[in-house]
């Protein structure tokens, strides 16, 4: 008879492995911030910068595996079945795909993720603060972002808004697909989806929303710099800070259970005031927006 013994709080310092997807500056920054935040904690950290150099035997030495990024998460999920995994710096949909065989472990608090994206209701709240008159919201999706659409519909309904959405296939011409969406919407939200936001579609969306004079809410700072009205997003630093929080909470949890996958509390904000000016919008200051979004 196999008796499953629930893990208990650790008597010794917790040993945590930070596994980077690549030895480059984004992942180095996340690790640096985690190390800095946990410097005084009773936690011993180790970092591996190449997922290919790990193995189950290495994972055995640790109490918690923290894969940083998509490749590291895939490696961790394929390598260990016993160690708890806290995936970070990973998009929601990607984590969902990679972890689909492990739903039980997720329910039991042995596998979790801190998503890279910001929660949709926070993004819609930002839009409402910038453009209170919005009634209908447009977007385009692909097969990869259908999950996003149902979450978006829930968040929009909570605001009392309607959604205009259409699926954009690879062979579709973006102008024909985007035109009815943009013409019939008060605002447009860009959902993170590589199939949709390749080089040409992103350009059409920027151009057409600008011509239609509707605000575009994006998911990255570079999109805002290219002309989108605003975005809230995570940075390697904010991801590092939040991951460190999650590690500490895990350590302090008597049952060593990980929380369910979730969005970050921290975020950065970028507003393109030139675009706002052109749209006739006078946005509050960044500090005021941050304060209201943080409530």
């Amino acid at each position: 008879m196999l008796i499953l013994v629930a893990p208990t709080a650790l008597a010794e310092p917790a040993r945590v492995l930070l596994l980077a997807s690549k030895d480059s500056s984004v992942y180095q920054e996340v690790i640096r911030v985690i190390r800095q935040q946990l410097a005084d904690a009773d936690i011993q950290l180790a970092a591996v910068m190449d997922p290919n150099s790990t193995s189950e035997k290495i994972f055995e030495q640790f109490d918690l595996i923290v894969p940083i990024g998509t490749l590291a998460t895939q490696t961790a999920l394929e390598t260990t079945v016993t160690k708890p995994i806290l995936s970070t710096l990973i998009p929601l949909h990607t984590f969902g795909l990679l972890s689909s065989p492990f739903t039980t472990a997720i329910r039991q608090g042995r596998i979790t993720a801190l998503y890279l994206e910001q929660p949709l209701d926070r993004q819609l709240q930002l839009l409402k603060l910038l453009q209170p008159q919005v009634q209908s919201l447009g977007t385009v999706i692909s097969d990869n972002s259908k999950q996003h659409l149902s979450d978006l519909q829930k968040a929009a309904t909570a605001q009392g808004w309607s959604i205009n959405a259409k699926e954009l296939q690879e062979d579709d011409n973006p102008v024909a697909t985007l035109t009815p969406i943009i013409v019939n919407s008060d605002a447009f939200i860009a959902l993170p989806d590589r199939a949709v936001f390749n080089r040409s579609t992103a350009k059409w969306i920027l151009l057409m929303t600008f011509r239609q004079q509707i605000p575009l809410i994006a998911f990255s700072r570079s999109y805002v710099e290219a002309g989108a009205l605003a975005a809230i997003y995570s940075t390697p630093e904010s991801v590092g800070l939040e991951t460190a929080d999650w590690i500490q909470h895990w350590q302090q949890n008597a049952a060593l259970k990980l929380p369910p996958p979730g969005y970050p509390q921290r975020f950065h904000l970028s507003v393109n005031r030139g675009t706002a000016n052109s749209l006739g919008i006078t946005p509050p200051t960044d500090a005021e927006l941050m304060k209201r979004l943080s409530k």
Binding site: S24, S25, V26, R35, A39, Q44, L45, A46, A47, V48, M49, N52, S53, S55, E56, K57, I58, Q61, T70, L71, Q74, T75, L77, E78, T79, L89, I90, P91, H93, T94, L97, L98, S100, L116, N144, D171, N173, V175, T179, I182, P192, D193, R194, R199, S200, K203, L207, M208, F210, R211, Q212, S220, S222, G227, P236, G274, T275, N277, G280, T285
Partner: protein
């Protein structure tokens, strides 16, 4: 690879297991963190198609607003120092030369320079007037530079490279902004910007006034003991006004209107002859209209029409004393006009561009156009009548993405004018993308530069006064200084390059390029014997040739948090000849090493410090005296006094250490300091 850090556990690597094969998903195809943290920067100037820098058939440099601000540049030409392989120099205080791989003079003309796709090349002097482009530094969104011949896309003037200055769209400009800069040499520069909306028209308006004194005191090249100091009268005063409007009547159409004018006066002359400076009055304006349409099938159409007008007024009288020409015995004194930078040129250009997306892997661009140019200059052409030229052009580029690794570009330009007939300039490029970050590039091209209107028609003649004292020679040519050559042919360049590019997060990148350029039939002025006052006459002939090969490196790095390093370096070896010149040598006219490096650090949220160094090997530019190698250090300190209204105060110090000379004798750059204040409201 396991690393240990202080306070971290050592990791025992027991084995390096291979990963299990059965991946649940192809990770490379999934949306990942790399999509958000690696910027998708594209350039358009290389082929006319918007392409990632890893997919273009030529090396590119982007100079963005961050670099412009950190550099503390006080003029637009100086920004081109950050392009590997380019040299920038003051010809006079307000006159600049920008060249690629050397071979420059007072009026270099082998680079195409455009503003939002409108060429600003001047037929009048076969060059670009950098101090009168009609835009301000703040108008610039970014600058795209194509390193290497870009004739296949942009035509004849892009013989050795192309610079496209992209101005900010109206919505990117502040509502109101003023900027004042005060500096040494009586430097006063005031600028304003204003943007707004009129119905469906977004517009931006900017103005610029510049006043400065010249380089100071110089000595004639023959005055080796420096016994007679001469004031270099190359200061100036220029006023510029520009307007940009974007009109979007519907979702698929947009109209872009640009207007600008420049007026002023600068002192020009040959620096090693400071006694020969004169004022050159400027009056120029331009108009540009661009219509872009997104077609229902996802293709794009663009029609662009523009007009450039330039008038220079330049007078420098050379006094011939009475009875000084022995052949005529007794004769009255008279003045000879030697101010040659005088005349009027106009250009009308119309182009039609069509981009066709066949499928996800194939795009084709077609760009046809015609250009009509006139040049009128009584002194340069020895005639009150204008000369004119009509040039027809057709360019194409086919981009084929074979798979996620291989991209091919095949392009060509066909140009035709009545004088030189048709010239065909093709280019083939192949890019191999190792992954999202690394790519290799190889390209070959052949290109032609048709002679400019001036090179094809210059006729400088000195006439005797119509006075009986000169007998049968009264009113007749006394000295033919230059005349046109009927069989002047286009210059040719064959080039080859291999390049490597590494793109890193947070806009960091490394770009390395090995290049080879072989220029033949290069146009040079040679002396021929005739019977007149000095028994010689100059003609532009296809006499010179050279090969240039070397390496260019470009680095953009964040070495530590809040720090940024920009570096541009090139090493060039040149061999060739100007057979009929006593002074010009291809090797001598190409500095071996050129370096620009800028280190910036955010000291506090509102304070940013930058330190730049520029270095160049010794060189002798065409028509100038040799100048030694130099290294210059600049400092820029910027502080935001108030976040609301973006009130900024900047201190700029150029050339912190020893003096150095640029382009020619007497262009001595000593330490210059500027204080700049700006605010938005």
């Amino acid at each position: 690879m396991a690393t240990t850090r202080q306070g971290l556990l050592p990791v025992l690597l027991i084995s390096t297991n291979m990963l299990p094969h059965a991946a649940q998903a192809d990770v490379a195809s999934l949306f990942s963190e790399t999509d958000l943290f690696i910027p998708v920067s594209t350039v358009q100037s290389v082929t006319g198609l918007k392409q990632r820098q890893s997919e273009t058939p030529a090396a590119t440099t982007i100079i963005d607003q961050r670099l412009i601000q950190d550099s503390g540049a006080t003029n637009i030409a100086e920004l081109l120092r950050f392009v590997p392989g380019f040299q920038v120099y003051h010809v006079n205080k307000n006159k600049f030369g920008v060249v690629s791989h050397g071979q420059g003079g007072a009026h270099p003309g082998r680079l195409e320079v455009m503003i939002d796709g409108r060429s600003v090349y001047l037929p009048l002097l076969s060059t670009v007037d950098w101090s009168a482009l009609g835009i301000t530094l703040d108008d610039i969104d970014y600058i795209e530079v194509v390193r290497g011949s870009n004739v296949p896309t942009q035509g004849s003037n892009a013989f050795l490279g192309a610079i496209n200055i992209i101005t900010k769209e109206p919505f990117k400009r502040p509502n109101h902004k003023i900027k004042v800069t005060l500096g040494t040499h009586h430097w006063v520069n005031t600028q304003f910007q204003q943007s707004g909306k009129l119905n469906n028209l977004d517009y931006g308006l900017s103005g610029d006034y510049l006043h400065n004194h010249g380089f100071g005191t110089g000595y004639d090249v023959d005055d080796s003991s420096h016994s007679t100091p001469i004031t270099m009268e190359d200061g100036g005063e220029i006023t510029q006004l520009s307007f940009r409007g974007s009109y979007t009547p519907n979702l698929q159409d947009s109209l872009d209107i640009s207007l600008g004018l420049s007026q002023g006066r600068i002192g020009v002359g040959t620096p090693h002859r400071p006694n020969g400076y004169s004022d050159r009055d400027l009056n120029s304006h331009y108009q540009s209209l661009k219509w872009q349409r997104l077609l229902n099938d996802g293709n794009e159409l663009e029609v662009h029409a523009y007009h450039n007008y330039l008038h220079y007024d330049n007078s420098l009288l050379y006094h011939v004393a009475a009875d000084s020409i022995s052949a005529f015995g007794t004769h009255p004194a008279f003045d000879v006009e030697t101010g040659v930078q005088d005349g009027t040129s106009e250009r009308y250009d119309l182009s039609l561009k069509y981009i066709q997306n066949f499928d996800f892997n194939n795009r084709v661009l077609w760009n046809g156009g015609l250009r009509y140019e006139t040049l009128q200059s009584e002194i340069l052409l020895d005639s009150p009548h204008a000369v004119e030229e009509t040039l027809y052009r057709l360019a194409t580029n086919w981009e084929h993405s074979a798979n996620k690794h291989w991209v091919f570009n095949a392009g060509a330009m066909l140009e035709y004018n009545e004088t030189n007939g048709a010239n065909f300039s093709p280019r083939l490029g192949v890019n191999y993308k190792v992954d999202e970050r690394q790519s290799f590039r190889a390209a070959i091209s052949r290109a032609y530069r048709t002679p400019s209107l001036l090179e094809a028609n210059e006729t400088l003649t000195v006439y005797l006064p119509d006075d009986a004292a000169f007998g049968i020679y009264a009113g007749e040519p006394f000295n033919r200084i230059s005349r046109p050559y009927d069989d002047l042919q286009p210059e040719q360049v064959k080039s080859a390059e291999v390049g490597y590019r590494l793109q890193l997060p947070q806009q960091q990148s490394l770009d390395a390029r090995l290049f080879y350029e072989e220029v033949n039939q290069a146009i040079d002025q040679i002396d021929l014997s005739i019977s007149d006052y000095d028994n010689k006459v100059r003609e532009y002939r296809n006499e010179a040739y050279w090969t240039a090969k070397g390496i260019e490196l470009q680095l953009r790095l964040q070495p530590w948090p809040n720090g940024q390093l920009n570096l541009a370096y090139s090493y060039t070896q040149t061999h060739g000849e100007y057979p009929n010149s006593n002074f010009n040598s291809a090797e001598g006219m190409s500095p071996g090493h050129t370096l620009a490096a800028l280190l910036s650090q955010q000291l506090a949220p509102a304070t940013r410090l930058s330190l730049a160094t520029y270095a160049q090997s010794a060189v002798r530019w065409e028509g100038a005296e040799p100048t030694p190698s130099y290294q210059r250090w600049d400092l820029h300190l910027g502080h935001q006094l108030a976040e609301s209204n973006n009130v900024q105060l900047e201190l700029i110090i150029q050339n912190l250490l020893s003096d150095y000379t640029e382009f020619d004798l007497n262009n001595n750059l000593d330490t210059e300091a500027y204080l700049r204040f700006s605010m938005e409201f």
